[in-house]
Symmetry: C2
């Protein structure tokens, strides 16, 4: 086990939350991944104040999760298109949905996820890239990686 201080300071969860750890930001990304592209459509779908939406869309563009593209010139109109970095949040968003479906939906899931053509459901389980096993907390060990950097030397594993 790495010690607490180290875990707290250098962690991809903490970094990720710096970028997307805000309710509106995640809801904007959710809608972008479902096909919403235009300011007014995000606004209508979320019922969010326009200044808040402007702020979140700007941040998401600055962080490279969305790309602002001109789709009309007179007057100039833009749409917000998810980048690879934005699309890569799809498993995280689905994972949040599945947790909510399991624990916060007493009447059952509001939406069902179905594998197109197969009819199976998405599973929340994560798997091993080598053997394909479904993994849980007890199956995974955390080791210092290349990005541990200086903190590793200054503040070594307990």
């Amino acid at each position: 086990m790495l010690n607490r201080h180290y875990q707290g300071q250098i962690c991809s969860v903490a970094r990720t939350l710096e970028v997307v750890g805000d309710r509106w930001t995640l809801l904007v990304i959710r809608d972008a991944l479902r096909g919403t592209r235009r300011f007014d459509d995000f606004q209508a779908g979320l019922g969010v104040a326009r200044n808040v939406l402007t702020d979140r869309l700007t941040r998401l563009c600055e962080h490279g999760l969305l790309e602002k593209q001109l789709y009309q010139t007179r007057p100039a109109r833009h749409e917000y298109v998810p980048t690879r970095k934005g699309l890569d949040l799809w498993p995280t968003i689905m994972s949040l949905i599945m947790w909510g479906d399991r624990h916060l939906a007493p009447d059952g899931p509001p939406l069902l996820t179905r594998h197109r053509g197969c009819g199976g459901a998405l599973t929340p389980a994560l798997t091993c890239d080598r053997c394909g096993a479904s993994l849980g907390p007890a199956d995974v060990e955390l080791l210092p990686g290349p990005g541990a950097g200086h903190a590793q030397a200054e503040d070594p594993p307990a």
Copy 2:
């Protein structure tokens, strides 16, 4: 596709974010899933103000993600133990970690996740519970579920 208003109002992402959509809350859960149990250990690991930590731990207990258990009587001391509901956030937390590893770690991941005994890595991919295929946004269709309730009749799919 379901229409925007409907998506915005009834969605397990939105509900989930009501419970865990706060940076400190997710970091507290992250540490709890790594074995942190005691107030002072959460506090030391996160460097968070004590009143903020008290608030987040209380909320997590109220929502049933952590359970406050007495481990010493004189003086009374409690620890915070993840419930099934809390443990079920593990794939979400790992998914956040893996996204950060991929997009926010220019020096490589601070921590490596390894399948104990196998050596494989966790993959961010989600799979189909029937055929086992790795699924992406284009492979999944969203259908109204049992929890769609009245909103479905009042505000039907576009």
